[in-house]
Amino acid sequence: MSAVTSRATAPAGVPRRRRSDSLTHPRRTGLLLVLPAVAFVVVFVFAPLLAAVYISLTNFPLIGSFEFVGLENFALALSDPVFGRSILYTLVYTAIVTGPILVLGYTLAVIVRANRRGSTLLRTVFFLPFVVGLTTISFIMLLEAQPDSGAVNIVLRWLGITDGSTAWLVDGPLATALICVLVIWGVSGLTMILLMSAMQGVPREVYESAELDGATWWQTERRVTIPMIRRAIAMSVIISVIGSFLGFTQFFILTQGGPGSETTTVVMSIYRRAFVDLQLGAATAMSLLLVLLTALVTALQFWMLRERD
């Protein structure tokens, strides 16, 4: 019997049971049930965020004393041309890699989604770069991109495309191109897995109906598969964009942000302010600006990729 029913049938003169006295919903039960989750969020999300806001308003160094400086760190960050360029570079980098990661991931998912002979092997092969990780493949690329001695240059020379002496990592556009190729190859496996799982969840009957209606392969993909895995695609894109926004490892290993600051990403810019300049206050202010930017872009993506029907 629900509390509502009890209240409705209570005889006149009998004190009505308060909602909190419900036998099925004892007082504070709800609060107790959510308490662990609330505590987790408070300790690991809100408290660090509040601490970060406080630190960003000080000239907090890694060592030594500090004092309140108001919004000075934010003003410095917004007027810092290198930080501004790093944001712009990160946006450009994100724009370059997001599309190819999705297209390649989708293509790979199409190849391996059916449980045919060899599918498992192909899934493993395609997913392997993601398992190996960007750190490892970046270190490998560091060796293979060397002029004259690296495999990249040797292959290009063998193909007659270059003379094999290209210094990939000391030229901004070349280094960016190389890193983009590396990242697209390295992380498309994750997109493949996400989309493949969604594709395998599409009911077989839908495909059979499409086939009976005489739909071509392309029409089936466009009118059946893509609409039905729309949410998985949206999630893949959002994960990819956030990952690109926070790009650091591959740049740190391969170019260290150089030459000049041509390949300096926003996270690398923050890292240098924190751990090279030892200015955690200023770095935290820059981090909060990045959080804000990421939230804005993600919100925009959610809006663009929302269900329109």
Binding site: V38, I63, P147, R272
Partner: protein, 437 residues
Amino acid sequence: MTLSRRDFLALAGIGGAAAALAGCGGQLEPADVTVAGFGEGASGTLNLWCRSDTLTGNEAMVEAFHAAQERIRVELTPIPNSQYVTKLATAIRGRRPPDLVDIDDIYSALFIYRDAFTDLTPLIEELPYRDRLSPGHLGLATKDDRFYAVPFLADNSVLFCNLDLFERAGVDVDEATGSFAGYLEAARAISALEEDVYGWSYPGNASGALGFTVQPHIWATDTDLIAGQIGGQTGNVAGNESVRRTLELLRTFWEEDLVPPVAYADDASRWNADYLSGRIGMKPASYGVIVPDADPALLERTEVRLLAGPDGGVSFFDGGDNFAIPNGAANPSAAWEYVRFCLEIEQQSNLPAGGYTPVRADAATDAFREQFPLAVAPLEQLDAGYAPLSLSYNRIYNQPDGPWLEMFRRAVFAGEIEAAMDEAQDRYDLILRQGDA
């Protein structure tokens, strides 16, 4: 008293923030170095941090110290160069610093100006060889006329000259190495000897190595790229004639193929390889970079000169390591006893065996000259050594995205010298302003 959901979250947030900041407050106490018997008869464990670049020298020193006494045992922890500042700062912030740090002298000021090291002035003033210690090292350890670190070993940039190539080119080493005109003439003559032989060499994509070897040409004219005192420093790049002429020289080397083509991408990971192959006439580097791996026959035909300015004058990067005792050190007395041991002339005279040079001018005895002739030049002119005192050195000179490397590459490889200097001026100013904030 009832607690609303909003109150609960607010209190939890404040509590979390307070807990996060709890470890941030409070300075560590400096050691009392004036107490009687400090640095004598100490015992126990001494935790020593060194940078990985100087591990060999430190290991030899610790071994000798253990052989000399049994009261103190040194636990040596090497830290990768690139992580040294961060790790030490984190240890200090965590209130667990080592007892003694062997720190790159260029980074000393970062900690000294944040009151992290103990004032060693009374101890240094008592040293009988105080006046013979490297002034460059001490300059980087000084704040308000007080010393917060003491020199340990030197790592100086000098010019290595291949006598065989000079002789074949018919160029006199002394005449060639006194000015930029001499450098250029010699480089042209040596490069003309045969293919794959070059007059000069620099790692054109190694920010730190270029800062180490190129700046002395500018310092030789008594000017620097950084002007002013910490707290109000600015760049001194745009319009700096010495900087412009130095970049012009290096640009000419590149344009006329007087340096190997690999210089464009060279990150100094194999810094010494070209000189050791015997195909480079003049190579700015340090004793430790060239000598330990060189063929003895090549070393016999090598001479060392200090780095010259455009029209004369000489200088060298007075680099190397300082010893400092962090505030809050658990065994500072043992630390100072170890420091004194390392500064004794016997230990200092043996430093070149590990690839380093002494920080005491009186180490340059006749026996030393005979045993380590290529390590003598800086010791004979210690006053010519220099290193910039700035909290932003690491950011400007050692980071690949710093303004120094950006200016070098734009000027030398693209030929846009004036534009590169103007751009660098803005970035120097910005970084110095941020670094001093």
